[in-house]
């Protein structure tokens, strides 16, 4: 059959369209799936891959963010009272770990557990802080607040002390005051007068009565009000200020940098002039003037579901349900466990490029609940055990 000139023209148009459409589809899909980032992978199956190699590899890929490695993990099989760890606090030479089965203390490479039988308010220890003033350890539990001082526990509950609620999600010591975020509002306990001051929607600009996180910094207390955004309390003036997602809708974030990305806040942490706010919908940073939002699709954040956070020396450590992410606001490092071979994965995001590197050691689980960092040591509380890491590169 002889092709007419007209048929030939249409055939050319058809072929051109198919090729152009295919190329466009391929490009767009790649842009969407990789978020416009290049991904380099190191072979994780290389069994001779050593920490030294790993360190070298990581150093090569990053120059400013701290990189942690040499992970050592602990579970109920080697010292913890329960696999589920909620929180961790580095207290000098000892490590305090809140678990579902009691307070675990790691000292001189040995674990010791404290439970209700020892006087703890409840075995579920979900928040810890240490008073810089007295050295007392304050433990937020599922059944009240415990002060651990001179080897003895003193317990505070709704009934015996008038604190807001017995479920103490977060505790922070601030001079003589101990602040708590509970299921029934925030509270401040004056250790001198031995009196509680309670903050709820009745006397503070929180339109919900429940609170979840609390932190201090810059002469202020920052309350994650779980549905009410962030409540800032200035100690000098004793005044409150609230921060919300300006679009006023739960189902969207209209603009990422106009305020907190969502009103369901889970934690706050202040460091080096920045207030960091975690939510189950992404991360926010406030410099006192402007907000900036971060999501898993536009940054190195492992997941938008952030259980808690800790800011330290300009870097924020983010406990997500898919790994531990760290960032200085520009560059990102994320640590995950490789479930196939129990080794670790480190994802470094720098200038829109992601590098995935295998590490011979790993955090014990990728579902991260709590974290603490001091100098060159990091401790990570996970859904299954706790891990200790060392600084490889600053």
């Amino acid at each position: 059959m002889i092709m007419t000139k007209k048929t030939f023209k249409y055939l050319i148009i058809f072929i051109f369209t198919i090729v152009f459409l295919g190329a466009g589809y391929f490009l767009i899909n790649n842009l969407k799936s990789s978020n416009n980032l290049v991904k380099n992978e190191v072979n994780e199956n290389n069994t001779t891959f050593s920490v030294a190699d790993n360190k070298k590899d990581l150093e090569k890929n990053f120059e400013s963010m701290p990189i942690f490695g040499n992970w050592e993990s602990f579970t109920s099989e080697n010292g913890l009272p329960d696999d589920k760890t909620y929180c961790v606090r580095i207290d000098g030479e000892r490590i305090l770990v809140g678990t579902h089965g009691g307070l675990a203390v790691y000292e001189n490479k040995k674990w010791k557990t404290y439970t209700k039988e020892d006087g703890l308010a409840h075995n579920g220890v979900i928040s810890i802080d240490v008073s810089e003033l007295t050295g007392d350890v304050w433990l937020g539990t599922l059944g009240g607040l415990s002060r651990w001082s001179a080897g003895k526990f003193e317990n505070f509950t709704q009934l015996n002390s008038g604190m807001p609620n017995d479920l103490v999600y977060s505790v922070v010591c601030d001079g003589k005051d101990v602040w708590v975020a509970t299921g029934g509002g925030a509270g401040a306990y004056d250790t001198y007068t031995k009196k509680w001051q309670i903050f709820t929607e009745k006397n503070a600009p929180m339109h919900e009565p429940w609170t979840y996180g609390i932190s201090k910094g810059d002469g202020k207390i920052f309350i994650a009000a779980w549905g009410g955004g962030v409540i800032e309390y200035t100690k000098k003036t004793r005044t409150f200020r609230d921060y919300h997602d300006p679009d006023g809708n739960m189902e969207i974030d209209l603009f990422p940098d106009d305020g907190i990305v969502h009103d369901i806040t889970t934690g706050t942490s202040w460091s080096n002039g920045f207030l960091w706010v975690s939510t189950y919908f992404g991360l926010s940073r406030y410099d006192g003037v402007k907000w900036k939002g971060y999501f898993d699709h536009d940054s190195g954040l492992a997941s938008n579901f952030i259980n808690s956070l800790k800011a330290y020396r300009g870097v924020v450590f983010l406990c997500t349900d898919k790994g531990l992410s760290t960032t200085d606001g520009t560059n990102w490092v994320t640590y995950k466990r490789n479930d196939n071979n129990s080794k670790g994965k480190v994802f470094i995001t720098k200038e829109e490029k992601i590098t995935e590197t295998a590490s011979s050691s790993s955090i014990s689980h990728s579902f991260i609940i709590g974290v603490d960092v001091k100098d060159d040591i990091i401790w990570v509380a996970t859904s299954k055990g706790i891990s200790r890491g060392e600084l490889l590169k600053q």
Binding site: G184, W210, Y212, I252, H365
Partner: protein, 436 residues
């Protein structure tokens, strides 16, 4: 222009359009079955981030835990207002619906021969009691729990449920923000105030053609959050609410608020509150000579409302998450058994609690005695998607919120009559006739 050049230009235009669609954020379906034109900001601005499109997965540990071997019973928690609350009557209905489902399951052999035992907790004790009660349930080693009705209680309980990783089935709280917390540990088996807002909004503005509407709402969180979605769609339909007045639970004289409303001569009045106050407000509205049509939130669908409002209830329209007259053999059987057991007619809270507990028991039977596995079945959006309960078809969205059947209830000849509202499909177009 030559035909083939024209054709080429058309194909290129189509191609460019398809590429631009690929770049746009995937948003196959608006959250909550919200029509495009009623979605926040949708008519003016594309949002940077749309939440609740895909369900959150729980990636924590726990699935590997083996069940204990020395159990004598399988404990399930219950959290509801049973003492010291204005909604105790609703809480008791919820408890009774739960008990009936448990008793029926035990008659069939319970869980592999072990009886189910309900661990009952009152949520209206000390301030923030719900959090403490959920901790007690964890100490009692419940495998999951059902509750509650009050929105504050439910929020507080859910937060504790997440921390303790206990599956929570909610069958009474209509607060839209409850499931908007993104917590992958709860399933809601009752339509929320978002769906109610769409249904009553379509009825008021589209079917009845009202333009100037006044609102009287409960001053608590139930009223504030409840009318929130209605306000949103009123604004997007071009009829922002003219006036909002508030009343407290237990209040009996509403003259001050109603005088303010009267001055603005609204075409209709919407009341969002509990049955008792709503009935008293309606009586006072009529005694002041106001003849405007009155619409209410779904808590009025009760015997208590009809008794207090008396003849003034005639013609009142509200939404309802439950149709007791539905032609559903399972519902008829439930109604007979419920009356035999409790000498009382079931209401929306007992019916949804019955459905919720049936679902929960089935999830335990499938997942075994492991909280994470029970959660997995409850929230997989497959096992219980389109579940045919006694309350109708239950459909879950990506937040595990029930966006299934909802009805409009109208008082005729001293009793409620029900029509199925297909608000999910037809907000702003029509109210469908009765299906059941």
């Amino acid at each position: 222009m030559k035909p083939y050049i024209l054709n080429l230009a058309i194909i290129l235009c189509m191609l460019l359009l398809s590429v631009s669609n690929l770049i746009a954020q995937n948003k196959s379906k608006m959250y909550g079955n919200t029509p495009d034109r009623l979605f926040p900001y949708n008519n003016f601005e594309k949002a940077y981030k749309y939440h609740f499109i895909d369900p959150i997965q729980f990636s924590g540990a726990g699935r590997e835990k083996l069940p204990p071997k020395d159990l004598k019973e399988v404990r399930i928690g219950f959290l509801g207002p049973l003492e010291g609350s204005a909604i105790v009557s609703l809480g008791k209905q919820m408890l009774q619906g739960t008990m009936l489902a448990i008793e029926e399951a035990n008659k069939k052999g319970g869980y592999k021969g072990l009886p189910y035992k309900l661990m009952v907790h009152n949520d209206a004790g000390l301030w923030g009691a719900a959090a403490n009660e959920v901790v007690k349930m964890d100490d009692e080693k419940v495998w999951a729990f059902l509750g509650s009705i009050d929105d504050i209680v439910s929020h507080v309980a859910l937060r504790a449920a997440l921390k303790l990783e206990i599956p929570m089935v909610c069958t009474g709280n209509p607060d839209p923000t409850y499931t908007e917390t993104n917590i992958p540990w709860t399933l809601r088996v009752i339509s929320d105030d978002r769906q109610s807002g769409y249904a009553i909004g379509a009825y008021i503005f589209e079917k009845m053609k009202h333009k100037r509407v006044a609102v009287m709402r409960n001053s608590g969180r139930y009223g504030r959050v409840g009318v929130g979605e209605f306000y949103g769609i009123a604004k997007r339909m071009g009829h922002p609410i003219r006036i909002e007045e508030r009343f407290d639970t237990g209040e009996t004289d509403f003259k001050m608020q109603l005088e303010s409303i009267k001055q603005l001569t609204p075409e209709a009045i919407l009341i969002w509150g509990n049955a008792k106050e709503s009935a008293l407000i309606i009586k006072q509205i009529r005694s002041m000579g106001l003849k405007q049509p009155i619409y209410c939130s779904d808590r009025i669908v009760s015997k208590e409302f009809l008794e207090i409002a008396g003849p003034f209830a005639e013609g009142i329209v509200s939404t309802s998450p439950y149709n007791p007259e539905a032609n559903n053999p399972k519902l008829k059987e439930f109604q007979i058994n419920y009356f035999k057991r409790f000498k009382q007619q079931p209401d929306a809270f007992s019916a949804h609690a019955y459905d919720g507990m049936k679902i929960l028991i089935e999830a335990i039977n499938k997942g075994g005695l492991n909280r994470v596995l029970i959660r997995d079945y409850l929230l997989d959006l497959k096992t219980f998607q389109n579940y045919q309960g006694i309350t109708g078809k239950i459909v879950f969205d990506a937040t595990w919120n029930d966006i299934g059947d909802i009805w409009l209830a109208k008082v005729k000849n001293g009793k409620f009559t029900f029509i199925l509202n297909d608000a999910n499909e037809n907000v702003g177009t029509k109210i469908k006739g009765a299906k059941n």
